[in-house]
């Protein structure tokens, strides 16, 4: 049953304590599943707990109740079956691009030669072979995020988890990176879960979009947004399906039920 599930989130709640010691419910009874090879977006307005939810899957936060399984294993902390891509890449400034990719492999205790080879493969996969020996400050924002993706891919995880990976990039670079992510997905077949507050991005990239609404953060609906076959981003953007799904997703994000475009207002 769970054999084809890459991520299984069951009844996750999270209660934080704020500065004044008051309890704040960030997430309430959140459940969703991600199948192997799927791209799933978590989206919602700010304060809906989407990043907290992703951090729980990452193992960087612990749920107050509920369970998370990745690749059939219960999550109790960070693990090697998850490759994490941070919002601002978060590269070590004193290491080269290649050195940063190797960082994730070092904790694994692989022999040096094997490590180097895996890092080189990953950096080639994201198209940065020519810049492998540059330091982060010599790279553009887009290139830095490519290194971040390569670092996560190098450890060959079951799932790639990305926290608003392209939100810090300019519009042009963001579009390039979105196209590249789809290519990487096609090449590697990795399961990808990403958080985005960008409706367009969620519809364009994801096969399914999990929408959350705030106070407390909970799942409001899951929208099927898969475009059949390998359509390009431009084709997707120009399609009627895109406009319709975008509209539907907006309804969900704002906490309304999906209704026909020409329907009466709620």
């Amino acid at each position: 049953m769970s054999g084809d599930l890459a991520v299984d989130v069951q009844g996750v709640s999270k209660v934080f304590r704020d500065d004044k010691g008051r309890e704040v419910q960030a997430l309430h009874d959140v459940s969703f599943q991600v199948r192997r090879g799927e791209i799933v977006a978590l989206t919602g307005r700010s304060g809906c707990g989407k990043t907290t939810l992703l951090r729980i899957v990452m193992g960087l936060e612990h749920p107050t109740s509920g369970t998370v399984e990745v690749d059939g294993e219960q999550v109790r902390g960070p693990g090697v079956n998850r490759g994490i891509v941070f919002q601002n890449a978060e590269l070590l400034p004193w290491r080269t691009a290649l050195g940063n990719v190797e960082f994730g492999l070092e904790a694994r205790g692989l022999p040096k030669a094997e490590r180097r080879a895996a890092a080189e493969r990953a950096i080639e996969l994201v198209g940065l072979a020519h810049a492998a020996h540059r330091r982060p400050h010599e790279l553009s924002g887009g290139m830095r995020q490519r290194v971040g993706i390569a670092r996560a891919l190098a450890i060959d995880p079951a799932v790639l988890l990305m926290d608003e990976p392209f939100s810090a990039l300019d519009a042009q670079t963001r579009e390039n990176m979105q196209a590249e992510l789809l290519e990487i997905h096609e090449r590697t077949g990795k399961t990808i879960v990403f958080v985005s507050h960008d409706i367009d991005e969620s519809v364009l990239l994801a096969d399914r979009v999990v929408t959350l609404v705030p106070d407390p953060g909970r799942v409001h609906g899951v929208l099927d947004t898969a475009f059949g076959g390998s359509t390009s981003l431009d084709e997707r953007r120009g399609s009627a399906e895109f406009a319709l799904r975008r509209h539907e997703l907006l309804q969900l994000v704002h906490g309304r039920e999906i209704q026909q475009q020409d329907g009466v207002s709620a």
Binding site: L60, I84, F86, W94, F103, A107, V126, A179
Partner: protein, 280 residues
């Protein structure tokens, strides 16, 4: 093969960084010209003004230069510099050896912070000059009192900057270590310490200025040897040219040492200047 969708992007990035570098260079050339201009103007104003006053009160740059040459020629200045340099280096190195580990410990462990954090802040804020007479009682009039003054003037600046650096290690970078399952020692060695290097270097740079003050103060009080001793002697015997010559030497030494620290920093942490530096 690559999955790169925008093959043109890296070239564009190179171009922008190149044009930025050219612009920075051009501006750097102009800035240097302005600096040289103000130096020349200052020297002329000083020369003209100093010629108007009683020669036992002030000396023009030309006289200072002559004094400098004669003091180097008769060996008195090199001897004084050497006398100052030894306790200076000893005190400064001692301040690094003590200050950096103390700063790291305070920054890393709350208990240590609670125990001795206040002491470092108090020591940094307090005018250490006030302790000179006591130090003379404890350490006498020679090498030891000078080294001790340099050390106490410098160690707090180094500690407080290191401490500050540890506290400012980006939490997200430590999270990268956690996320990729790095052990605690690995996080310390691969993330925390490299992150703190720029702050340590800032402490060392500020420390140079403080150490120079320390050595001069000690030599003023003890008035035995060293560049500070030369200044006191020249002042007492109404030889402003010799006095200013010694002051110029102190200034050049401080600037050179600060520059040296900058070079070491660039070598140890080449990424830092390019991130925080105002080259943009």
């Amino acid at each position: 093969m690559t999955a790169l969708a925008d093959k043109a992007a890296p070239a564009v990035d190179d171009e922008t960084s190149l044009s930025r570098r050219i612009r920075a260079q051009r501006r750097g050339g102009r800035d240097r010209l302005i600096t040289a201009g103000t130096v020349v103007v200052l020297l002329i104003v000083w020369e003209v003004a100093a010629r108007q006053v009683n020669p036992i009160l002030a000396a023009p740059p030309s006289a200072v230069l002559q004094a400098l040459i004669s003091m180097i020629g008769d060996g008195s200045l090199p001897k004084a510099v050497w006398e100052s340099a030894q306790p200076f280096l000893a005190g400064y190195l001692l301040a690094i050896v003590v200050g950096v580990p103390v700063g790291l410990l305070i920054g890393r462990f709350r208990v240590v912070e609670a125990a001795i954090g206040w002491l470092i802040i108090a020591g940094y804020a307090m005018p250490m000059i006030a302790l000179t007479p006591v130090f003379m009682l404890w350490f006498g009039l020679g090498f030891a009192v000078k080294a001790a003054m340099v050390m106490t003037m410098t160690v707090f600046a180094i500690s407080i900057n290191t401490w500050n650096g540890v506290q400012n290690v980006p939490r997200t970078l430590i999270e990268v270590g956690t996320a990729f399952c790095a052990s605690q020692p690995r996080i310390l060695g691969q993330i925390v310490i490299p992150s703190v290097i720029p702050s340590i270097m800032t402490g060392l740079r500020i420390g140079i200025g403080k150490a120079v003050v320390g050595i001069v103060i000690a030599e003023f009080f003890t008035a035995i040897g060293g560049v500070g001793g030369v200044i006191v002697d020249a002042g007492h015997s109404f030889q402003p040219d010799r006095m200013f010559a010694a002051v110029v030497v102190l200034m050049l030494a401080a600037v050179a040492l600060t520059g040296l620290i900058g070079l070491v920093e660039r070598w140890l942490a080449p990424w830092n200047r390019s991130i925080t530096g105002g080259a943009h």
